[in-house]
Symmetry: C2
């Protein structure tokens, strides 16, 4: 009998009707002969509502108590989903993160899973039950309730799939799968049949919102097959799997974009060892996530240092950057929120050196100026003006003929 | 240093402002030099709202899943109260029923506490923290989440007070204490300074809604001093304590009334051994709580059997009673929802045989017909027409001069 893990997000369980719809799908999977474990998020906006309540009480809610508060959300959705399944005549049991054996470290609000003790889940599956598990939460090695951070129900699902050696981890979403570009921007974008962990990591990191980054890391580390698919239809979605030789033949898997970041430029930083470490060390202590970093070769002992950070953190970061720019003797700094990042991701890039040049060329032909460039072995990211993001995604997508590339890959992987 | 347990109900923590008000009172108790443990219920109507959600999903929500669902409510209130206290500059920590060591039996929805493992609470108190505990919930000996039934946050508070050998268990309510009668019915009713466990049990069982019956039983069994007091002012309320010789001098502690019951009369039941056992056994299997039972001496081998049950259970009970009346060969039965129960409670009654007669006399003088009578050693209950409940309570209260009796008791117990 196959073990499958399903994961449903907050909007999929947003009210009683939707919970019944999810229950029907879960029951169908069970009736098809599977042992089924279901991970659910809190209903609709519950987590946001509880967070707002906390901030009504305290400007800085303590992290431990915030975790206690937020973990109530999934407790509600798991109990209701379990009731709906039982009402359909199947046996089900709900478990909190703690009961499901999701053991984490002690970092409240962003805890990492250190171990999954799945004994109770396994016993319940063997007793013929459908098991419902609260996503997003666990219990720490200090016996405290922890949460794993936004989007972390994906991670719960993948961790359980790993611990149970599940055949597949089905992540149900409101889209049909992983696309070669955002279909709202590029009507010609098409669904990928399969994508490697490395590519999915790069795509998640550069703006594809379909999977939480950490869940992909976890899946890669444990070899969990993720199936990203629609909760509205029965069609196949996108499989996230180990890269294999057939995939290599595909050059590009997608174009992603991200408009949530701002660009900082510190001008004429003295080019001495340790200066960058000091600046970014200081920013890190404020918990600001720095994304792209670009530093040019210096002229006359000075260099410009550019990087991107989340727009939400900009006002906090500016204070530190102003101080650091002064301390290291830079000329000054500027911040620019009006930018977008466009990335081209593909495992095949590794053996095709012309990809970057092709991307730059097509952007130049479209009159789009590139303000920053950063690359990995399977990704090229550029920063452009925010107003030009749509046309940038379009021309890059077209230049690499991604629909056909994706089709080629699909043939190979079947 | 004294250990005190506070308990606040759902309306006391109904919104952010009220939670801050509770936090201020808790902090004041801590600053007065106490070690403070606080038990809270779910905010406002949370438990009702969650229950309604469950019934939207399933006509018969499974008890285990219902407990999982409902236990989310206190998780929210404990976290928020803890945040508010920390925001006031004191150290606090919230615990679920399970974390607080409230171990129960496995009866979901009405679990009984079998043990309190207060290690984490004691450690936190010793570390100088204010401890906030979720009322109404525990963890069963099977490691399942349980709830203890409506009003059971009182029981949680008393159980913790017993386990911690607390000096007092302060139950904060929206009234000033326990009154000699409902002040809305009897303007001359006055607050009792102290009342014995036995009297409080009789009062709780006959309509005084100020304390849950089981919490008083628990307090009696473990000798916990309960202080019922107002959450709106600082005044002293009513102490529920062990009966002592000074109390004996007080004749009557109060008049209670209850309009939530219906009266059933089974006519001409054959007077054979085992008939009553059969009838009430059958009713019990339907989980209907029978309160007063009256059976007269039989004439010509038949007797009338009368009893009261909650109005809410009437339609369910009628089906069984109809069947049982037929089976035992009774003439028939009637049900009457238009009744009220009026009770006179007082430990002093034991040594004053004239109390019952006095009560019947004053009711007769007021032209109030008595339809049923039932007594214990410290209580007399009568059933009257619902329309006459107010005047019945008034004349009985006046006849026994309860304000003065209560004043006498107060002098003695100081």
């Amino acid at each position: 009998m196959a073990i499958v893990v399903h994961k449903y997000g907050g909007s999929s369980v947003g009210n009683a009707d939707r919970i019944r719809t999810v229950a029907r799908r879960v029951v169908a999977s069970k009736e098809a002969g599977n042992q089924v474990v279901v991970v659910v998020s809190a209903m609709g906006d519950t987590t946001d509502d509880l967070t707002n309540l906390a901030f009504e009480i305290s400007p800085v809610p303590p992290a431990r108590e915030l975790d206690m508060l937020l973990s109530a959300g999934e407790r509600i959705s798991i109990a209701l989903l379990s009731m709906a399944i039982i009402d359909f005549g199947h046996d089900a049991i709900s478990f909190t993160g703690s009961q499901a054996g999701i053991v984490t470290d002690t970092s409240h609000g962003k805890a990492r899973i250190v171990e999954v003790r799945a004994r109770r889940i396994i016993e319940s599956l063997e007793a013929g039950k459908i098991v419902i598990v609260a996503g997003f939460q666990g219990v720490s090695t200090d016996y405290e309730i922890t949460t794993l951070g936004r989007g972390a129900s994906d991670t719960t699902a993948v961790a359980l799939a790993a611990a149970l050696s599940a055949d597949v981890c089905d992540i149900y979403t409101d889209v049909d799968g992983v696309f070669t570009a955002d279909p709202r921007l590029v009507p010609g974008a098409r669904k990928l049949h399969a994508v490697s962990y490395e590519e999915m990591l790069e795509m998640a990191a550069t703006g594809a919102r379909v999977l939480a980054l950490r869940s992909v890391e976890y899946a890669r580390n444990y070899g969990v097959v993720i199936h990203v698919r629609s909760s509205f239809n029965e069609g196949e979605g996108t499989f996230v799997v180990e890269e294999d030789e057939r995939m290599e033949k595909a050059l590009i898997s997608g174009v992603t974009h991200d408009t949530s970041e701002a660009m900082i430029r510190i001008r004429r930083v003295p080019d001495r060892p340790g200066v960058a470490a000091r600046i970014f060390g200081e920013i890190a202590t404020e918990n600001v996530n720095v994304d792209m970093i670009v530093q040019n070769v210096s002229e006359d002992g000075h260099t410009d240092l550019s990087f991107t950070i989340p727009k939400d953190d900009l006002s906090r970061a500016e204070k530190i950057i102003e101080k650091m720019a002064r301390e290291v003797g830079a000329e000054g700094f500027s911040a620019d929120s009006d930018i977008a990042k466009v990335s081209l991701v593909g495992a095949g890039m590794k053996s095709h050196p012309g990809v970057a040049a092709g991307m730059f060329q097509v952007l130049a032909e479209a009159g789009i100026n590139i303000e920053m460039i950063s690359t990995s072995s399977i990704r090229i990211s550029v920063v452009v003006r925010a107003a030009e993001v749509e046309s940038a995604v379009k021309v890059v997508h077209e230049r690499f003929d991604i629909p056909n590339e994706a089709a080629k890959r699909e043939e190979h992987s079947e």
